[in-house]
């Protein structure tokens, strides 16, 4: 066992109680490189107490952070992806799915359901970056679309917490089409006068950014999250220039008018509550 864990979010307390050994008593912050007692980071909602760096968190942890305790009811928890193209690189897509499910459970890279924020009914979708990089294939697109349609049904606000590398290559054209499908559902939501709040967390790129994640009535970012269309490496290779400092980080997007606000994890629930009270008729 390493005496500290490098640049990975500590495992959530809720997921850790399976009798396994804690993976690292100490964690090195990816940003300030301080070595900090893991429990202390956890207690601080997986935010570095020294420099405010926001570690990635699992979907369940995020749900625990923003929804009223005990109100979350999950939808489509067992929906599974299909390797319909027999896609193979070093491993087959089938094997990748199997490995991801074994490690993170079913339901693919997004956890969806309904719950309350300060007693207000909301429908939420929360990405799990740990599941195949949060990539969007048919299942993610379908679950997000159903969340939006559920919002229409309940006349409730829809919230999506994104964390994704973009579309899932292994589903080729159908993963691309999820961008259109989810965005079309948002057109319906908009026409129905219901709010859509998009929360962008580290990282949100590619086809997810270029569809629902940028379409919030409000786009809210966590501090320092990488948010963009093309990945920084692709851009660097294309233009053969060094990228400016802070490029594609939340603060940069705020400056360029692409997100409405940057909200720290500690203040997220209160901010969402404040926003929803303004946007919804009680």
């Amino acid at each position: 066992m390493p005496w500290f864990k490098k640049s990975k979010a500590p495992i959530a307390s809720s997921e850790k109680k399976k009798g396994q050994m804690p993976e690292g008593l100490w964690t090195k912050c990816k940003n300030c490189e301080e070595i900090i007692y893991s429990k202390e980071i956890e207690r601080n909602l997986n935010v570095c107490p020294k420099c405010d760096y926001h570690f990635r968190v699992s979907a369940q942890e995020r749900i625990d952070l923003v929804l009223d305790a005990g109100t979350f009811v999950e939808m489509d928890a067992e929906m599974m992806p299909v390797d319909f193209l027999n896609f193979k690189d070093s491993k087959t897509y089938k094997e990748r799915i199997k490995a991801a499910v074994k490690k993170h459970g079913g339901g693919d890279a997004v956890k969806c359901g309904e719950g309350d924020i300060d007693g207000m009914k909301v429908v939420v979708a929360v990405f799990d970056f740990a599941f195949m990089g949060g990539s969007m294939g048919s299942v993610v697109g379908e679950k997000i679309t159903r969340v939006i349609e559920r919002g229409l049904e309940l006349k409730a606000p829809v919230l999506v917490f994104s964390s994704s590398g973009g579309a899932r290559m292994q589903e080729s054209i159908l993963s691309l089409m999820q961008m259109a499908k989810t965005s079309a559902a948002l057109a319906k939501l908009k026409n129905a006068g219901l709010p859509f709040i998009s929360v962008l967390t580290d990282p949100t790129t590619g086809g997810v950014t270029a569809s629902f994640a940028m379409l919030g009535d409000l786009n809210i970012a966590e501090p320092r999250a990488l948010i963009g269309f093309a990945g920084p490496r692709v851009i660097e290779q294309t233009i053969r220039q060094k990228l400016p400092e802070g490029f594609q980080r939340s603060e940069y997007l705020l400056e360029h008018g692409m997100v409405d606000m940057i909200v720290r994890r500690q203040e997220m629930k209160a901010k969402l509550s404040q926003v929803l009270k303004i946007f919804t008729k009680s």
Partner: protein, 317 residues
């Protein structure tokens, strides 16, 4: 200068030989027997080559430098075309051509990616890779078409949306996303033809249609084969393998049964061998699709389009 792909070369050589012989036979020598034999041989050669194309070769055809581009289709399919420019915000984007025209006499809007043929034009058109203002111009024109009740024809042929600093600063992702949402809500017919490269989100941003068609030798995928190879194997040169994995050809996509409505046949040897015939083939399919869509009310058009994309998934529950 003419450009040929490697696998086209044997055919091109043979054609050259046939033409030389034909020029020769204008004198008092008759080569008609020989010519007939060679024509037959050429036909067989073409069949051999084109019936066994790999997905990579089809990708190369889709990117062929001599392939007709949007402005060629506009010239051969529409009348009265006038181009409009700019997103009313930042600048005009020559990588996306937008305007209005007549289709069989009927007013319509036309939108398409535009590549350049020589080096200067390629740079001017940014290799067919739009910036956010291109997508915003396209949306402006589509919403104008809706305002005037005009059908919209779009032609897709791009390696992808441009990955650059300025593009990110001005919201490439937001521009694409907004088009997806707004196109879903258009109350006029939208007919999409993938003519060459359907490159990911940069293609889709003008491709949310009631009807979507692909030309026989076009491709459509979530990522370019080179980009895919770079991610999977850290080697962009493995594009040919990635093309196989991505199953990006018109036939591959047609087999999914839910993404495209038709494959538009191309002249023998590909659209670049006869751009006028290629355009005629496209026109025929556009006529057919438009006639079907004109039976739908504005609300039905929106709903038909919604259900079309709603059905696009492969999942297990």
């Amino acid at each position: 200068m003419q450009f040929f792909l490697d696998f086209e070369k044997p055919l091109v050589e043979l054609r050259k030989k046939i033409n030389e012989l034909r020029d020769f036979s204008t004198d008092n020598v008759d080569f008609s027997g020989e010519l007939k034999k060679l024509e037959k041989k050429a036909e067989k050669l073409r069949n051999d080559i084109f019936s066994n194309l790999t997905r990579w070769q089809r990708t190369q055809l889709a990117r062929h430098q001599a392939r007709p581009y949007t402005l060629d289709y506009i010239e051969n399919i529409f009348t009265d075309f006038f181009e409009v420019h700019g997103d009313r915000n930042f600048r005009d984007d020559p990588a996306l051509v937008c305007g209005f025209a007549r289709f069989d006499g009927q007013p319509c809007a036309v939108i398409g990616h535009q590549k350049g043929r020589d080096t200067k034009a390629k740079v001017y058109r940014n290799f067919g890779m739009p910036n956010p203002e291109g997508y915003r111009k396209a949306l402006r024109v589509m919403q104008m078409a809706e305002q005037f009740g005009l059908p919209i024809f779009t032609f897709v042929d791009t390696p992808g949306a441009f990955p650059g600093i300025g593009a990110e600063e001005r919201g490439q992702a937001e521009a694409i996303a907004r088009n997806l949402r707004e196109m879903a809500d258009l109350k006029v017919p939208v007919i999409v033809t993938v003519t060459g490269e359907g490159g990911s989100g940069g293609a889709l941003a003008i491709a949310v249609g009631n009807k979507v068609m692909m030309m026989e030798y076009s491709v459509y995928a979530v990522i370019s084969p080179e980009g895919c190879a770079a991610i999977l194997w850290s080697d962009g040169a493995l594009g040919p393998q990635a093309a196989e994995a991505l199953k990006l050809t018109a036939t591959d996509i047609d087999e999914l049964g839910c993404v495209i409505d038709d494959i538009i046949p191309e002249p023998e040897g590909g659209a670049h061998n006869d751009p006028v015939a290629a355009a005629a083939s496209v026109k025929e399919y556009l006529q057919k699709q438009l006639a079907e869509l004109q039976k739908l009310s504005p609300e039905e058009l929106v709903e038909q389009r919604y259900q079309k994309y709603r059905a696009m998934s492969r999942i297990e529950e």
